[in-house]
């Protein structure tokens, strides 16, 4: 994949101006993740409506490469713009992340970068699920 394909405008736009960064004072749930192979790190705070399961607020912070930053920013934007619920977000996967960035695929070495934000958000959501009886 040429750098033109991977680093197209959308990715660079969200790398330079990432959306929904910051923190929530008293979040419903929070989670962190590190991509051990490359040093990307992200922390996500979520505010979830306990009745509807809708994610009312999402803030994230961390340091990472263009792919993980852009993917997390685009994902946060989608979740907030579409007023997604916890259940809907839990169903997102690698393909959804690729679609957000407008990519057909990423090299195996960048897969973790692409999924870092999504996996962290899903980790935070898992913490709010009732434990199995």
């Amino acid at each position: 994949m040429s750098s033109a394909d991977l680093y197209q405008e959308l990715v660079l736009e969200h790398f330079h101006r990432p959306q929904h960064q910051g923190q929530i004072d008293t979040p419903t749930t929070t989670a962190s993740n590190i991509n051990a192979s490359c040093g990307d790190a992200v922390t996500v705070d979520l505010q979830i409506d306990s009745q509807t399961g809708q994610i009312k607020d999402l803030k994230w912070r961390g340091q990472g490469c263009a792919i993980s930053t852009a993917a997390t920013s685009l994902l946060a934007e989608k979740i907030m713009d579409e007023e997604m619920t916890a259940a809907q977000v839990s169903n997102l996967n690698h393909k959804s992340a690729l679609a957000l960035l407008g990519l057909e695929e990423v090299a195996p070495g960048r897969k973790k970068c692409l999924e870092l934000g999504l996996k962290t958000i899903q980790k935070a959501l898992e913490q709010t699920e009732p434990s199995p009886k």
Partner: protein, 418 residues
């Protein structure tokens, strides 16, 4: 006369094109490419002499045993060691773990100190963390400066005041390229804590400079064959003869080949230390390959290899310093007592405003292979506050024009991210 273009002809993989560009392979600290001579030696073994060693009386078994023994002799000699001091392993990590299980577990007591540094590769750190847990020992860290150089007076203080039983040290840092003054360290250990044993991680020095185990004065030396033109799956553990003969170091793998007599409830182990530390079927083909690599390097002469590497490092330091966005990590100029920069094998750097991963990806699109991340030195990167670095590392087949290619490819990074 060291001739890079004629050396390159021995390495078929260097002809490859990557994304439409010639391959510029600068990830040698991770693993090196192999000359056709090494590839053919392995292939020849499998085509002509393959059989299990020592276990049969048939012709092929004899040939295989000879190939194994001859390879061991060649490899030991290359490192200035006696074949009785050589234990063949898969890589440096396995060698270090072998010392942990074979020596540390039997010789460290509660409260003992393992002295190391924060710039060690995880294989020379995590291994000792686990030993410390098992033995209720503890780790202490010799101070380093911003270039990764050891603080020798801190080393002396710690040797004097702490119950140090083991010093585990990297020779050349895979992240910073800094060359540690091993003879200075050994002198101090011998003077201040003569009972302590010294482990030298030579994974990144063995490919780039002549090493003589006999002269170095360390008790254990570990290295990876695959980083010095040998096959993957080849690694070397050298142990001072006395430690093996006195059984201060014991086997950590048991089973076939390493025994003398086996009964139902108990067994005795082979008298010969080479046999005692070779459990199971050895990887003869990889030993043959590594021996071929040693011979290849001997022909070129390791002193010439070192000279070439230092030229590449100096050139890379010069050219990369001229790129405003680049901040080089590790030594960039000679230490106070020398005219030569104490750096070997690699030059790693940060790129302003762009994550190492993205730099490496864009370099790859230009056919340039480097490594990005924390290079198995997370504590070091954390200590200096670097999320990740980009590392270009060298071998005998690299040239100064390839360093120029690296620098031009970096211009693409600037274009994409501006």
């Amino acid at each position: 006369m060291f001739n890079v273009s004629s050396i390159r002809q021995d390495f078929p993989i260097l002809e490859k094109e990557i994304h439409g560009h010639p391959l510029t392979y600068l990830d040698n600290s991770a693993t090196s490419q192999k000359p056709i001579q090494v590839i053919e030696a392995i292939s020849h073994f499998y085509q002509n002499s393959n059989a299990n060693v020592h276990r049969g009386v048939h012709q092929l078994s004899d040939e295989s045993t000879q190939a194994w023994e001859n390879s061991r002799r060649t490899i030991a000699k290359f490192f200035g060691a006696d074949p009785a001091e050589l234990i063949m392993v898969r890589n440096t990590t396995e060698a270090l773990n072998g010392i942990a299980y074979g020596w540390a577990d039997h010789n460290l007591q509660e409260g003992d100190v393992i002295l190391t540094t924060s710039e060690e590769h995880h294989s020379n750190l995590v291994t000792w963390q686990e030993v410390a847990k098992r033995k209720n020992a503890r780790l202490e860290f010799i101070a380093i400066d911003e270039a990764g150089r050891l603080d020798l007076s801190d080393l002396e203080e710690k040797l004097k005041n702490l119950p140090v039983k083991l010093v585990a040290l990297v020779h050349v840092s895979n992240a910073l390229g800094v060359v540690q003054p091993i003879s200075e360290v050994v002198t101090r250990v011998k003077k201040l804590k003569p009972q302590a044993r010294v482990v030298l991680d030579a994974a990144q020095s063995a490919p780039h400079m002549p090493l003589n185990f006999d002269h170095l004065g360390v008790d254990f030396m570990t290295l990876s064959g695959h980083k010095m033109l040998g096959p993957m799956g080849s690694g070397v553990l050298l142990v001072k003869k006395k430690l093996l003969q006195d059984q201060e170091m014991k086997p950590w793998l048991f089973g076939g080949g390493m025994i003398a007599e086996v009964q139902l409830e108990t067994s005795t182990f082979h008298e010969d230390s080479a046999e005692r530390f070779t459990a199971g079927t050895p990887d003869v083909a990889s030993a043959v390959g590594l021996a071929a690599a040693c011979e290849y390097l001997s022909k070129i002469k390791m002193s010439e290899v070192e000279k070439h590497d230092r030229e590449l490092v100096a050139y890379a330091l010069e050219k990369l310093s001229q790129v405003p966005e680049v901040k080089i990590v590790g030594p960039v100029s000679p230490p106070p007592d020398s005219s030569q920069v104490d750096r070997l094998g690699s030059v790693a750097f940060l790129y302003e405003g762009v994550h190492a991963h993205d730099v490496a990806q864009i370099l790859d699109s230009q056919g340039v292979a480097v490594r990005s991340g924390h290079h198995c030195t997370m504590p070091l990167h954390q200590h200096f506050g670097w999320p990740a670095t980009v590392r270009a590392s060298f071998q005998i087949y690299n040239s100064t024009s390839e360093i120029e290619t690296l620098v031009s490819a970096l211009a693409e990074v600037k274009k994409v991210f501006s």
